[in-house]
Symmetry: C2
Subunit: 210 residues, 2 copies
C-alpha cells in the first residue's frame, strides 16, 4: 500500500433541489455509498461542508444530527441492515419510535408500508425467515414509513426480479410525484433512466452530471 491515503471521495461538489430525483451511478468502488452516507448524516466528510435544507450540518452535535436524520430522511441501506431479532413489521416501525408514535399505530403504519411492497403476508417473519429480495423490500418499507421529505436509497432493487423491481420503482415514482426528494444509487440503467438527472462517479470524482 502506498503512503497516499485512499480518497473514497475527491472534491465532490453537488447540489440537489427539493423534489429532484437524482440517480447516482458509477463502477463498483467509485464512492457512491460513501457519498450517500454523508448525505444521510451517517458519516462526516474529512473535509468540505454539507448544507441540508440550507443548514450546515457540521454545526450539529450527534444528538441534533440524529433528530434531523429521523425527521427529514429515509435511508435504504445496500446491505439492508435489518435487526435479526425483530419481525418485519417491528423493523419497519423502528423510525416511528423516535417520532413518539404509539406502538399500535406504529405497527399499523408498518404493515401498510409492507403491503405497499407486496409483503403484507410476511409481516411477522423475522429477516432469517425471509428471502434476500424480501429483506430488501422490508428495508425499502422502513425508509418510507415515516413519509420523509428526502429518500436516500442505496441499490434498492439489486436483489429483485424484474417484476418486484418494477413495483419498487413505481413506488418511488409515486413519491416523486408527491414532491419528495430522491437520491438513488443504482447499477440498473432502466432505473437510472427514471430519474430526473444522473450523476456519475468514478474513483471518487463526479465525472458527469445531467
Amino acid at each position: 500500500m502506498g503512503e497516499r491515503p485512499l480518497l473514497a471521495l475527491d472534491r465532490v461538489d453537488l447540489q440537489v433541489r427539493q423534489g429532484e430525483w437524482v440517480a447516482l451511478i458509477g463502477p463498483s468502488g467509485s464512492g457512491k455509498s460513501t457519498l450517500l452516507a454523508i448525505l444521510g448524516l451517517l458519516d462526516r466528510p474529512s473535509s468540505g461542508s454539507y448544507l441540508l435544507d440550507g443548514q450546515p450540518v457540521e454545526k450539529l452535535d450527534d444528538l441534533a444530527l440524529a433528530r434531523v436524520r429521523n425527521r427529514r430522511l429515509g435511508f435504504v441501506f445496500q446491505a439492508f441492515n435489518l435487526l435479526p431479532g425483530l419481525r418485519a413489521d417491528e423493523n419497519v416501525a423502528l423510525p416511528l419510535r423516535y417520532a413518539g408514535v404509539s406502538r399500535p399505530e406504529r405497527l399499523a403504519r408498518a404493515r401498510a408500508a409492507l403491503e405497499r411492497v407486496g409483503l403484507g403476508d410476511r409481516a411477522n417473519h423475522k429477516p432469517g425467515e425471509l428471502s434476500g429480495g424480501q429483506c430488501q423490500r422490508v428495508a425499502v418499507a422502513r425508509a418510507l414509513v415515516s413519509d420523509p421529505a428526502v429518500i436516500l436509497a442505496d441499490e434498492p432493487t439489486g436483489n429483485l426480479d424484474s417484476s418486484s423491481g418494477a413495483a419498487v420503482l413505481e413506488l418511488f415514482r409515486e413519491l416523486h410525484r408527491a414532491g419528495r426528494t430522491i437520491v438513488m444509487v443504482t447499477h440498473d440503467p432502466d432505473i437510472a433512466r427514471s430519474a430526473d438527472r444522473r450523476v456519475a462517479l468514478a474513483d471518487g470524482r463526479v465525472v458527469s452530471d445531467g
Copy 2:
C-alpha cells in the same frame, strides 16, 4: 397465518449433468436460495432425496457432508457471508484450510483469485473497508479458490455495475469452458442467457425448464 405450512419448495424434480450451466430464475421469494442451499449441502430437504455425483446425501452424517462440500463445491452466498474480522485474502483462503494447504500457499492462491475479480489491490482490506460490490467479488473469489467441480452462485452480480458484472460473467464462462458445473441464481436476463439452460421457479415449483 393459516394452518397449512409454508412450502418454500414444492415437489421440485431436477437433474443437472456434469459440465452443465443452469440459470435458476424466478420472482423474489419463489424458492431459489432454498433450492441452492439444498444443492450446496447447507440445508436438508424435509422430504425427497438428493444425489450428488450419484451418491445419496441423506446417508451422510454432518462430518461427511462437510467433507464433500469442501472438496466438490464452491458457494457464493446472496448475502456474501464474509467474516468481518478477517481480511479479504484470509476470507478467500478459508476453503483451502480444510484441504490442508499451507498458510503461505493459501494466501498466494487467495490473492491470485482476488486478482481475477479485479481486487488485487484490496487483499488486506476487511469487509467493513470494502464497497458492496467489492464484498460480492470477494465472495465470488472465495467460491472459486479451491477450483471446485461444482459452483453454486446465488445472485453473483446483484451488486455490480455492468462492467464488473461482465467481468464476473466472463470468469464463469471460462470455468464453464474448463468443464465445471454451474448452477447460478440470477435476476439478470442477460446473465440467464449465457447459461445452457434456464430453470424457472414460482411459488416453490418448477414452472419451466429449457
